[in-house]
């Protein structure tokens, strides 16, 4: 039987069980790395460095995880803070490594041209709208959870998601259902 996040966290806290923490990393690495890749708009290795920093911070501060929110929500919050710190350091993050991102995608799932247009449309959104759309529409967080991750009011999250979606719909109108 697979252990829940709560079980694994308890094992890490009680016995400093590195295997349990590795299981947590394995379970969440894809979503955290995916989110950071979408946020940084830079090379994939930078996103992975930030993801690594996210998990190391999570390990260090695991005692502060009270289990009130989902473990993934707590991780997204740390990841977003890592991203903000990096962005502040760099001021401006440049150019997405399209070739590397392309290699991560399964060419069978979506039309490559549509995928490219969607990725481009997402990159055109202002950071606050892009982050809100990615968290809520792509990673399945509720508005309330996204508000906790981004540390902004619930109403602001709803507005950002709504505006972001409107812009995406306009940009991708040609691809939409007839």
């Amino acid at each position: 039987m697979a252990l829940t996040d709560a079980d694994l966290v308890a094992r890490v806290l009680l016995d400093d069980d590195h295997h349990a923490f590795a299981e947590l990393v394995r379970n969440h690495q894809s979503s955290v790395r995916g989110l950071l890749r979408q946020l940084v708009r830079a090379d994939v290795s930078l996103a992975d460095d930030l993801a690594q920093e996210t998990f190391l911070r999570a390990y260090k501060n695991l005692r502060s995880f009270r289990g009130e929110a989902r473990f993934s929500t707590w991780l997204y919050r740390i990841a977003y803070n890592c991203f903000r710190e990096e962005a502040r350091k760099r001021k401006e993050l440049v150019g997405i490594d399209e070739a590397q991102l392309e290699a991560q995608h399964d060419p069978q799932t979506t039309d490559p041209a549509l995928r490219q247009d969607l990725a481009h449309a997402l990159q055109l959104l202002p950071l606050h709208e892009r982050t809100a759309v990615l968290l809520c529409c792509q990673n399945g967080l509720s508005h309330d959870e996204a508000a906790r991750v981004l540390e902004i009011p619930l109403g602001t999250v709803k507005t950002n998601v709504l505006r972001g979606r409107e812009k995406l719909k306009r940009t991708l109108a040609a691809w939409g259902p007839n």
């Binding site: 016995d15 394995r26 894809s30 995916g34 190391l56 991560q104 990615l134 995406l168 259902p177």
Partner: protein, 112 residues
């Protein structure tokens, strides 16, 4: 109706974009960078106890059966009563200060 269709379509496309990122050694890298494992409290206590017992046995053997202990106890018992009281009070203060320092150190470490 069209509006709803458009919303569903957009959500589906966004979810499609969230493809699985292959681990590719990422987890192993993170685990490698974790700090060394903390020793369990129970294990630490057993190790300390074992060391104390071994050190006591070595000291007993090296001191010729511990004859000096009996000699010192006798000498101590012959001291004037106020000196014995003073020694007892001094030992008590020493233990209290040690305990207090340990508590302050532990609390400070937890707050950090």
């Amino acid at each position: 109706m069209d509006e709803n269709l458009q919303e569903d379509w957009l959500d589906a496309r966004l979810r499609d974009e969230a493809v699985y990122v292959d681990d590719g050694g990422f987890t192993a890298n993170v685990v490698r960078k974790l700090p060394a494992r903390r020793m369990r409290h129970s294990l630490r206590a057993v190790i300390l106890l074992k060391r104390t017992v071994v050190a006591s046995i070595i000291a007993y053997l090296l001191s010729g059966g511990g004859w000096f202990i009996a000699e010192e106890v006798t000498r101590f018992a012959l001291l004037p009563l106020p000196v014995i009281w003073l020694c007892a009070a001094g030992a008590t203060v020493l233990v209290m200060v040690g305990g207090l320092a340990a508590v302050i150190f532990k609390t400070g470490a937890r707050l950090r």
